[in-house]
Amino acid sequence: MKPFRRVTARAAVLDRADVDTDQIIPKQFLKRIERTGYGEFLFFDWMKRPDFELRRPEYADAGILLAGRNFGSGSSREHAAWALQDYGFEVIIAPSFGDIFHTNCLKIGLVPVVLPAEAVETLMHAVSGGESLTVDLEAQQVSGPGDLVVPFEFEPFARESLLQGLDDIALTLKREETITAYERSHAAPVDTTALPV
């Protein structure tokens, strides 16, 4: 995972609640076996509508997405996070996220920032003319036009992982002995290799 410290980029506004992962990346694009190339299918059906927010020309190079509450609810498809990242987003700011989607973002280095609904609204107003924001994960703050500064909370371990771009599988594998010790003291309840075929 690529380390992330801060980004300054134009912020796109998608002011809707409960945007589910079926909208972010519809099912017909989940048949690919690669991790890349999903950006062109982002919000595939909504993108067909001329009035869809993300089609605004000034959002073409947006790197930050401001979204409504419960963004990324629904399916576990990591393809949703891949598509947003591949499209060019590095940060998503919302009042809340779907649980699995939030984890998926952290795992791939797409930074999910949770802010109170009022703060997200303030930011949405501040960038209504296509302005840029700076999201600084190290300083844990979003800054914008004028002297707008909004601090945010971030779970310390997840923050450190993003800042350093850590591979969490490698981290867990360092605990090999502990895992083996756990396995020795806990009999496995099933053996799938012994099932009838």
């Binding site: 809707r16 409960d18 909208q23 989940l30 498809r77 990591e78 371990f157």
Partner: protein, 468 residues
């Protein structure tokens, strides 16, 4: 020791390590795998030169994009993904129930069927409906592909401890009202993000009288209100379902397992961060009218009017949903005509669901303007239904009888809605385009789906019974 919940006991007994400044590392007892969310994870292992740590705690099946009609797979992308699963399972030694093996099916149907979804276990799968297995008193939840790779490589997952919520279903369920109606009503009450951050334990008299199939329906939809997992403490109903299944313990092991499983229940004085209560004694069959599962009303009710909402954001959401669904405000649910019926999915494609639907349609015929589909949840369910003659009841009534798979629940295979088509579906998600771009999904119970297939519009299944 302070009083413990079912969740607490499973969590604690699966902690590999719990560092102060990092997430806990949780051991995974069973990893279920399917073709859609695993190829990139296996590829990650290959690139890093890693192996699957415990193939013996993993099992794979093909479900999401398999066609449910006989004949070869014509979609080259779907075929490539299924081939990739076969190759990956072969290379890494993971047992696979491939299409045509006779034991394949929807991943959340075959786990319980094989007897490998057991009380007290931790179960994960790259699929949000993994919560289904919580019906056995397991901690079961969906994960993303990066986490799938993590579990393949380490058999563990870093996890933050979630909060606990209890949902108590009070009262006795009226006849003709099903588990699906219970969970839809609960989601309507709590809202689709009401469960975010929680593991939910479902309990109460109305849960205790449910069969295992029905309990799975309830737990299945935990993710539809954002919960990390849903679970039900095991009891004699659970044990009776499990006994004799291929993966269940046998002989002296069975007795030992029973002792362990009986000890898992939540202590009477244990507390939850949140407690919710749903009274089901006057519950009516439920029908969703909008584009998420919280948008639900009783079958005798009507579609809401955006004008009744004060909050502009809510009003917008209702308006947008009604526009997508092609419905006018205050339309009576029973006046809504349907084009398609889908009985299937990991929510409602087990044998009990098919028996219930068959009882409604026996001796009657599907409405001429409706095309109706029954898709068993697994090859095993299909076999059993055919032994019981259910397939004949359905086909005689004008239903199509298909092979096992996820089918029209998510439209990743040839079973999809055409734009504008309206479907009464026993699946779990009514999101825009879920069953096909422009398709309109109404979530209902198997009995209501069957009744709607006959009537051509939504109707209380009890009324169909009386008319006959």
């Amino acid at each position: 020791m302070p009083p413990q919940t079912l969740f607490d006991r499973i969590w604690t007994s699966h902690l590999v390590v719990e560092p102060d400044d990092e997430p806990a590392l949780l051991y995974v007892d069973l990893h279920l795998i399917h073709e859609v969310t695993s190829p990139q994870a296996f590829e990650g292992l290959r690139l890093a030169g890693r192996r699957v740590r415990r193939p013996d705690l993993s099992v794979a099946t093909m479900d999401h994009n398999v066609p449910t009609e006989d004949g070869p797979i014509t979609d080259p992308l779907a075929r490539r993904q299924l081939d990739a699963l076969r190759e990956n399972c072969g290379e890494f030694g993971v047992p696979l129930y491939a299409t045509g093996s006779g034991r394949e099916g929807i991943v959340h149907v075959i786990g319980p069927e094989l007897g490998i979804s057991q009380p007290g276990m931790t179960i994960v799968c790259g699929d949000s409906h993994t919560s289904t297995h919580g019906a056995f008193g397991a901690l079961a939840f969906g994960i993303g592909t990066s986490e799938v790779e993590h579990v393949l490589a380490t058999q563990t997952l870093p996890q933050r401890r979630p909060k606990r919520m209890r949902v108590t279903f009070e009262g006795e369920l009226p006849p003709g009202v099903a588990a699906k109606d219970m969970i839809l009503a609960a989601i309507g009450q709590a809202g689709i993000s009401g469960g975010v951050g929680y593991v939910v334990e479902y309990d109460g008299p109305a849960i205790r009288t449910l069969s295992m199939e029905s309990r799975m329906t309830v737990c299945n939809m935990s993710i539809e209100w954002g919960a990390r997992a849903g679970m039900i403490a095991p009891d004699d109903t659970t044990f009776a379902y499990m006994e004799g299944r291929p993966g269940a313990p046998a002989g002296a092991d069975w007795e030992r397992a029973l002792d362990h499983w009986r000890s898992l229940a939540t202590d009477p004085d244990a507390t939850f961060e949140r407690d919710l209560s749903v009274d089901v004694s006057s519950l009516a069959p439920q029908v969703t009218w909008g584009t998420n599962p919280e948008m639900v009303v009783p079958v005798h009710g009507e579609v809401p009017d955006p004008a009744d909402y004060d909050d502009p954001a809510e009003r917008d959401a209702v308006e947008r949903a009604l526009t997508y669904m092609g419905l006018a405000p205050r339309t009576k649910i029973e006046d809504i005509s349907i084009d398609r019926v889908f009985i299937g999915s990991c929510t409602n494609a087990r044998i009990e669901d098919l028996r219930t639907a068959a009882a409604v349609v026996a001796g009657k015929h599907v409405h001429p303007s409706v095309r109706a589909l029954v898709v068993p949840g697994s090859a095993g369910v299909k076999r059993q239904a055919e032994e019981e003659g259910l397939d004949k009841i359905f086909t005689t009534a004008g239903f199509e009888w298909r092979r096992a798979g996820c089918s029209m629940c998510l439209g990743m295979n040839p079973d999809i809605l055409q734009p504008g088509e309206r479907c009464a579906s026993t699946s779990n998600r009514n999101f825009e385009g879920r069953q096909g771009a422009g398709g309109r999904t109404h979530l209902v119970s198997p009995a209501l789906a069957a009744a709607a297939a006959l009537a051509g519009h939504f109707v209380d299944p009890q009324a169909v019974g009386k008319a006959a």
